[in-house]
């Protein structure tokens, strides 16, 4: 099979191009020589099936960041037939170096100049034909976002693939990479001869927006207000969808599934309906909100606003031994902690990376969000709900800041803070939809792996031994709950909630599913049952504990693999568990002492 690698600098629209070429067929895979996963997809090109690999965005093949090493190791361990190099047309003056580096390696290449429209607007003209002659490779102007010029670029790639040249020899590449470059000079030379560029470049729209969003005093308040409005939007739109889906799922149960299992033995209908169906349906009802959440997050991410947040927050973050990028990772963690942890690879100083990795698991991810929406809907009036949720987000930030302040002495660093500020961009509908689809797929994979196994286990624990009433103190679950009672009673967490918390170690998605199984109910009935059993102080304590303690097994595994240290992983687990208990204890006992 032919192998095509996609290479480019950060912020050039590489992932957009990858998604456009691969459609929705991408998967994550392992590669020899590197420890991280790369996205790849099978595509049909000129009658060959080829594998397209999305390499991480890098500035320089010879650079020292982990992503740059990943690319080097990939090329020196895997043969490739073609590299598609993607550059941002308006930054061609400095990005061309990457193409020359690939050319030096004698890897067959196609150069795609992205954002041709943006460059044209700022008065940059590129003589692609003559540039192609000089570079001895096809040069094509495209728009990854809208797909302009893409067929031509793929045609050029097809031609090279059809020539059936031998693939690169990884050993030769490895050797070449040892040698270094007169690339700087060659690049300056080419730019001087073939590219005309106005000396100062002003993207008026971006400048105008920045004048407001990066305002000395209003910048930060605007940022937090914008975030608050976005979250409000997610719930105003998502809540009715969630209610609708929950209703549909309960109708499905009573109308179709209950008659089907009516004649089967009690244990089987119990397992299938009260176990698997209740558990999975309760979790599935949250899918619309989660999808919506990721759509909004990806829009913010692609817009360029996150780099602005880094700019605005850097001064404050520096006081905690972190930098503006750390703040961006915290925000990414609101989606899922795992990619945020991987994102710390852009940091070169190990102490700063570790400190950032210590705070990220405290950011309120979308899985924890499900638990909170569930508990808040069950126990708080609708008018208080947004405020309670907002306070949990504030709490998430406070625990992250506290952690950074307390540990910054242990992780001293002098990492330089230099970051590119890309112009604002609006993602297209296609980008948004593709991204949403990937999240749904990710959720379904998790659902089939963790949630089903989790709810079946919870069902077994709450239904055996079979000589006592289900979910009573005599079941295994009740016994486990009793075991943890000395720790959890002082923070107001009863034995049913304790079981849900224990399974929450595996993944927070299981928590609401587990509650559904433990109580043997679903939807509104489940919520009112929980509301009868615990009061809002207990619920809040439960949510605080859920917020702060270890997010999930995937996060723990990622911390282990990214830090390459079991000691650090254990520190992270112990710190989050300890902090969770102390915060919940202070809240619960304080609220009780105040008479609530």
């Amino acid at each position: 099979m032919k192998r095509i690698a996609l290479l480019g600098m950060p912020n050039t629209g590489k992932s957009t191009l990858f998604n456009r070429i691969s459609g929705a067929s991408a998967r994550v895979g392992n590669w020899p020589g590197i420890t991280v996963d790369l996205m790849s997809a099978k595509i049909l090109i000129g009658g060959h099936i080829a594998e397209l690999i999305d390499l991480p965005g890098i500035y320089d093949i010879h650079g020292f960041s982990e992503d740059e090493q990943v690319v080097r190791h990939f090329l020196s361990n895997n043969a490739v037939d073609l590299v598609i190099v993607l550059l941002n047309s308006s930054q061609i003056d400095r990005q061309l170096s990457l193409v020359l580096q690939i050319k030096k390696l004698k890897i067959p290449a196609v150069l795609a100049l992205n954002m041709a429209d943006e460059a044209r607007q700022s008065g940059i003209t590129i003589d692609a034909d003559n540039l192609a002659k000089e570079l001895e490779m096809p040069v094509l102007q495209i728009s990854a976002k809208y797909g302009d010029g893409l067929p031509k670029a793929l045609q050029a790639a097809t031609q090279i693939i059809n020539q059936n040249q031998p693939a690169t020899d990884p050993q030769v590449i490895a050797q070449f990479l040892q040698e270094d470059n007169q690339i700087e000079h060659e690049m300056e030379d080419l730019i001087q001869h073939h590219v005309q560029m106005p000396t100062t470049f002003t993207d008026n729209t971006t400048d105008k927006i920045d004048r407001v969003l990066l305002h000395k005093w209003f910048g930060l308040p605007i940022f937090f207000a914008a975030m608050f409005v976005l979250f409000q939007f997610i719930f105003t739109v998502g809540k009715p969808l969630q209610d609708g889906l929950a209703w549909a799922l309960s109708v499905l149960r009573s109308g179709l599934l209950e008659p089907i299992f009516a004649s089967s033995p009690a244990w089987l209908s119990g397992l299938m309906l009260d176990g698997i169906y209740n558990g999975v349906a309760t979790v599935a009802a949250f899918v619309p909100i989660i999808v919506l959440f990721f759509l909004v997050m990806s829009m913010v991410e692609d817009s360029g606003y996150l780099s602005r947040a880094a700019f605005l927050m850097d001064a404050l973050m520096a006081k905690m031994g972190l930098d503006g990028r750390g703040f961006v990772m915290m925000l990414m963690g609101f989606g899922c902690n795992v990619p945020a942890l991987m994102g710390t690879r852009i940091m070169r100083s190990r102490p700063m990376r570790l400190l950032t990795m210590l705070v990220i698991p405290l950011s309120l991810c979308s899985a924890r969000l499900q638990v909170f929406i569930f508990m808040i809907t069950a126990l708080f009036a609708a008018k208080h709900a947004p405020l309670v949720l907002f306070s949990l987000y504030v709490m998430s930030f406070l625990t992250m800041f506290l952690t950074a302040v307390l540990f910054q002495g242990q992780y001293k660093n002098a990492e330089p803070f230099i970051l590119e500020l890309p112009p604002y961009r609006f993602p297209t509908l296609r980008q948004i939809v593709l991204r949403g689809w990937h999240e749904v797929k990710h959720f379904l994979v998790r659902a089939s792996k963790f949630i089903v196994i989790g709810v079946v286990l919870v069902w077994a624990l709450t239904n055996f031994p079979s000589n006592v009433p289900p979910a009573s103190a005599g079941t295994y679950a009740g016994q486990i709950g009793a075991l943890f009672a000395p720790f959890l009673d002082p923070i107001g967490i009863n034995s049913q909630l304790a079981i849900a918390l224990i399974f929450g170690f595996v993944a927070k998605e299981i928590v609401v599913g587990a509650l559904a199984v433990i109580y043997g109910m679903q939807g509104d009935a489940l919520m009112s049952q929980i509301a009868m059993q615990i009061d809002w102080v207990q619920a809040m304590s439960f949510m605080l504990f859920t917020l702060i303690y270890t997010p999930c097994l995937s996060t723990i595994a990622t911390i282990r693999s990214e830090s390459k240290s079991s000691g650090f992983m254990w520190l992270s687990i112990a710190w989050s568990l300890g902090l969770a208990w102390v915060v919940s204890f202070m809240f619960y006992q304080g609220a009780r002492w105040l008479g609530y």
């Binding site: 500035y59 320089d60 650079g63 020292f64 308006s90 930054q91 003056d93 400095r94 170096s97 700022s122 940059i124 700087e184 560029m197 000396t199 100062t200 470049f201 920045d210 990066l214 000395k216 005093w217 910048g219 780099s307 880094a310 700019f311 605005l312 850097d314 001064a315 404050l316 520096a318 503006g324 070169r348 330089p416 803070f417 230099i418 970051l419 590119e420 500020l421 890309p422 112009p423």
Partner: protein, 78 residues
């Protein structure tokens, strides 16, 4: 000759020297900081926060600490 960290907002200047250890030098040059390149400061974040520097077509944010490694010559505003 002065340091980039001392440059006034909006004042045009040219890079005259970059005095940084290899890693920082590499990073700066990958983002377009090269001798002879014109630049200016667009804005500065509050509380001694980072600078937003415009080099040709690229906007870069960096802290005072890093900007102090870059020597510049200022031009009069015309």
């Amino acid at each position: 000759m002065q340091l980039l960290s001392q440059l006034k907002i909006g004042q045009p200047a040219t890079i005259s020297a970059i005095e940084a250890e290899e890693l920082l030098f590499h990073r700066l040059s990958a983002l377009g900081f090269r001798i002879g390149k014109p630049l200016s400061i667009i804005r500065r974040a509050n509380f001694n926060g980072p600078l937003q520097v415009r080099l040709g077509t690229t906007d870069v944010i960096l802290r005072d600490t890093e900007a102090a490694h870059i020597r510049i010559n200022t031009h009069p505003i015309n």
